[in-house]
């Protein structure tokens, strides 16, 4: 890593310039996330059973050679359901971060760049939004929209943009007065070009690192909301839903709620390591 980078060249190649060879934590994170992505897309080929087929001959059977992780109250194979649910939970984590990321970045960029009244209104709105407990506001919005995955995505966008807007805004404020932006302005570039080509790429690094740890939060929120019955609806296999279905049987069949939870923990761990590794690699502290 070099301390003094020529001002103009920082506009481009903002990632490649700072990245050395990946350190172990980052590598572990990449491998774990890659593992889940492969599982998600290969699910139909690697799952041993149909995730939704009822087998009343094998109801509530404990883990065995035929059903590695056991079966649930309808005789559905837990392992196959976990594998098929991967793409649902991965989508929750990724889409639930991308949507607020885009909205928040847009708002933060505008507010930071133009300042003035827009910025003031935004800052007041941020103060108010942050006063609400995150999960409570999320559920209150879902309550209005009605339970379901789409409501969850809308709610998480309306709640989650705040962090990104704040991050991007603070970066834009610094970058706005930097030499290379001055230079771009001296060259007569328009606001749009300066914002999108010069400021935005540099303002994104902190948000990208933060978004990785945000995936963990959103994944847990999505699973929690689905567990409570407000997100993904049964019979769709989703880890939170599977845990909720297993709750009735905790005295007799511990394996129904136990294994989907392990899956959540392992997916979250992958993204946590990715976040820690990226922060270390890019030397940012979000």
């Amino acid at each position: 890593m070099t301390g003094a980078v020529p001002a103009l060249s920082r506009t481009r190649g903002f990632i490649s310039r700072r990245v050395g060879s990946p350190k172990p934590v980052l590598m572990a994170g990449i491998l774990m996330v890659a593992f889940w992505v492969v599982i998600a897309f290969a699910a139909p080929w690697i799952a041993p059973y149909d995730p939704n087929v009822h087998d009343y001959g094998a109801v509530l059977s404990p883990p065995s050679a035929t059903h590695w992780l056991g079966t649930d109250m309808f005789g559905r194979d837990i392992l196959s359901r976990i594998i098929h649910a991967t793409i649902v939970d991965l989508q929750i984590g990724v889409l639930g971060v991308v949507l607020p990321f885009v909205l928040g970045t847009f708002i933060g960029l505008i507010a930071g760049y133009f300042g003035g009244v827009i910025d003031m209104v935004l800052m007041r709105l941020l103060d108010i939004m942050l006063a609400f407990p995150w999960l409570i506001l999320l559920m209150a919005i879902i309550a209005v929209l009605g339970p379901g995955l789409y409501s969850f995505y809308i709610a998480i966008t309306l709640v989650g943009w705040v962090s990104y807007a704040r991050l991007v805004r603070s970066q834009v404020l610094v970058l706005k007065s930097s030499d290379f932006v001055m230079a771009a302005r001296a060259l007569g570039y328009g606001d749009m070009r300066i914002m999108l080509r010069h400021i935005l790429p540099n303002a994104l690094v902190a948000s990208i690192v933060f978004s990785m740890s945000d995936v963990v939060l959103v994944l847990l929120a999505g699973a929690s909301v689905s567990y409570l019955g407000m997100g993904v609806q049964p019979p769709t296999a989703e880890w939170g839903v599977m845990i909720a279905e297993g709750q009735t049987f905790i005295t007799t069949a511990w394996w129904i709620p136990a294994f989907p939870g392990v899956a959540i923990v392992l997916m979250a761990l992958g993204f946590s390591l990715l976040a820690d590794g990226l922060a270390e690699q890019l030397d940012v502290d979000p």
Binding site: A131, L228, G240, G261, A268, S272
Partner: protein
């Protein structure tokens, strides 16, 4: 104004935030699709009856006027009436506040008991095996879903060993302590994953500070230095962090109260969402937000009381 001057004028700064909170809760209620009166009376009620009821509840007034009435009622402690329970919401909440408050305080205490020793060990053994294990635990712990952790604790300690009840709140203080132990431990374990990281970093920062070096140069014993100088100074960021995470904890109680069937505010929130008791959902959102603001304020006061250097 002196050190505690902000205790008086800070609440004034909070007024815009409180107004914002009331505005958002108000619009949440009004964003609900459908006519609340029709939902209340059913589809077959005559239009005249609906109109008269709309007038009685002020629903025929402009939105701004409705908001004005809403705030006036709030200031008088009137949150409206629950459609499902047919009682004033303030009574409904009052009965359930105790369990949630107990849960929040209990889990705060437990999370300190979990965090403090682990963070101290991690900081003292920086970079060595104990530190790596504890940091690994905290990275792992970040991904633990509270509802699943709660269920696993039930499976092991309630169903397996039979040490704790599967759920409920109990009737006496001792019973509360017994019933709420696993729920509080659930929140405490999930929270400590976040707290340990920050507490460890703050301990390390203090360990490297000049005044610790000075104390060492004076020949004070390491134990004395750690207890009297390092720990005390690291306490402030830790308390601050608890304040920052109060919103997270309140969200956690909603989930945990459902897992352990605790008759608190969080369980009421989930029940009301499913019974479409929107007025209750909205009141709870408002109460939770105000509680968060209030706790953050109290944490600020405690911070100033602990550290004379900070005064706003």
């Amino acid at each position: 104004m002196g050190r505690y001057g902000f205790v008086l004028h800070r609440p004034l700064q909070l007024i815009p935030v409180l107004i914002g909170i009331s505005l958002i809760s108000f619009f949440l209620l009004h964003a609900v699709p459908g006519d609340p009166i029709r939902t209340l009376l059913g589809e077959r009620t005559s239009p005249e009856v609906v109109a008269s009821l709309r007038a009685r509840y002020g629903l025929d007034q402009p939105l701004l006027v409705q908001y004005f009435y809403y705030v006036r009622n709030l200031l008088g402690g009137d949150l409206g009436e629950s459609i499902v329970y047919k009682v004033p919401i303030s009574d409904l909440l009052a009965r359930r506040t105790q369990a949630t408050g107990f849960l929040l305080v209990y889990s705060t205490v437990l999370s300190i008991l979990v965090t403090l020793p682990l963070a101290v060990v991690a900081a003292l053994y920086r970079g060595r095996l104990p530190d790596q294990i504890i940091r690994g635990f905290s990275t792992f712990g970040l991904g633990f879903p509270t509802f699943w952790l709660g269920l696993m604790l039930i499976i092991v300690f309630s169903v397996g060993f039979g040490w704790f009840p599967v759920g409920g709140y109990g009737n006496s203080f001792i019973e509360h302590l017994h019933h709420l132990f696993l729920p509080s431990l659930t929140i405490a374990l999930a929270l400590s994953a976040i707290l340990i990281r920050t507490m460890r970093a703050s301990l390390l920062q203090t360990l490297g500070a000049d005044f610790v070096m000075a104390a060492r140069a004076k020949g004070l014993s390491p134990r004395w230095i750690f207890n009297r100088h390092v720990l005390r100074n690291s306490l402030i960021p830790a308390i601050n962090l608890l304040g920052v995470n109060i919103g997270w904890m309140i969200g956690g109680t909603v989930v945990v109260e459902t897992v352990f069937s605790i008759p608190g505010l969080g369980q009421l929130m989930v029940k009301s969402i499913f019974s479409r008791d929107y007025q209750v959902v909205q009141s709870l959102t408002l109460v939770f937000a105000c509680a968060t603001v209030f706790v953050s304020f109290v944490v600020d006061v405690i911070t100033v009381a602990l550290d004379p250097r900070i005064s706003q």
